[in-house]
Symmetry: C2
Subunit: 219 residues, 2 copies
DNA sequence: TAACAGTGGAACGGATTGTTCCGTTCTGCT
DNA sequence: AGCAGAACGGAACAATCCGTTCCACTGTTA
């Protein structure tokens, strides 16, 4: 569940003091820590959040639970950005704006890179499916404008996100700058008008989702 | 080779039976294993090579030694490819051919991704410096042809290699295909003629070498 | 047959880490 | 003021992982 027993309606209003602040404190710390290193120990999250282990384990039954929550949040963010971009009238602008947002927020590291470290819920798989459909739609619309080269398929976006997420330097702000730069290069490549066609069989739908398969296998 | 104490001249000719074969068996296995996962245990290498632990530790004093060797080999491969490409008369062809080779051979994962897991030798740093100079020269020559957009700097190559190395699926052959495809997209972006200039401060020389710094610090 | 380089693989010890638990603090209520 | 209980900090625990060592064994050479 996304809202556990620590629901706001449950306790007296005073709970909104330290406890409620810790909720987001822990979640933010977890995002930062696991974004930097998906295999980081739980203690690193507690330290980063400035809380003890019990504050953490009161909210999440296990490390896996925390990771699942983080990943699901990222997935929802992805869907939200995709839907927002889809509202943009121009298909090419929607496409580039969408990619810029996803890369900027480092959503990819939260979703794909955390997959395989937990067993996913049916709801997550549903959201993942919707995310795939939405980004496919964005590609389609961009293609319809004629600005996107014709040999780009939906899953080339996965390649692009994976590539941008890999760019990393110690400073997070600088990382964002370098990613933005690299993304711009990449988008120019995707928009190249007369360039020859891309080599190799294009990525098949779902070919890049292999990290999820493990959790599907044992469900 | 770095010719260690396992030099051919040392033993009787019969040593060229199993022992000499194990040399490359172990090295190949190590490359495969650490390419897939830079933090893999040593035992995984032995298993992959089909040998026991002692066969491995007879040749390398420690895991660090093995990693250093692997990384240095990759570095030399990088330099060799760069020199070979530099012989090509056309600057743009030299540039693209070079990148194709490096990405194909996954040299980046061998060098940059292994850095920081061992203390590097002065010779390695020398080779790394030469590698940097060579790839800078290739960028310069490509720029001189006018086919490379003017706002590309030498260290954009580092971004590109990092990005391509991040693309990975379980099957190695398929991984190569997808990387080749992505590289083609990227190269079209780097060649884009009239496109607007790239955002953000470009990567500074050596900005992407942060993984090496740790070993420099304790030398 | 004696000597020995080369080897397989079990065993060891240190480090890491997810989770639990106990004593303490802080809050709201009487 | 005094109490009940939620929330908490952090040490302790148990399990696992992994680099390295060690010893018995094998095939070859002389």
């Amino acid at each position: 569940m996304t809202q556990t027993e620590t629901t706001d309606a449950g306790g007296p209003p005073a709970r909104r003091g330290r406890a409620a602040r810790n909720d987001s404190l822990i979640l933010d710390a977890a995002r930062e820590v696991f974004l930097r290193d998906p295999t980081a120990p739980v203690a690193a999250v507690a330290e980063r959040a400035g809380v003890g282990m019990s504050a953490l384990y009161r909210r999440y039954a296990s490390k896996e639970d925390l990771l699942r929550r983080l990943c699901h949040d990222g997935l929802r963010r992805f869907v939200a950005e995709a839907e927002a971009a889809d509202a943009e009238p121009d298909g090419w602008t929607a496409f580039t704006r969408f990619l810029g947002r996803i890369v900027e927020a480092d959503v990819h590291s939260l979703t794909v890179h955390l997959a395989g470290t937990f067993t996913s819920t049916p709801e997550m798989r549903q959201d993942a499916e919707r995310a795939g459909a939405l980004s496919a739609s964005l590609v389609e619309r961009a293609a319809a404008t004629g600005r996107l080269r014709r040999d780009i398929v939906a899953d080339d976006v996965g390649l692009l996100l994976e590539a941008c997420a890999a760019i990393r330097v110690p400073d997070p702000g600088r990382t964002r700058e370098l990613r933005r730069r690299h993304l711009a290069m990449l988008l120019d490549g995707m928009a190249a008008p007369g360039a020859g066609s891309l080599p190799g069989p294009p990525p098949a739908p779902g070919e890049l989702n292999w990290r999820w398969r493990r959790s599907e296998g044992n469900a």
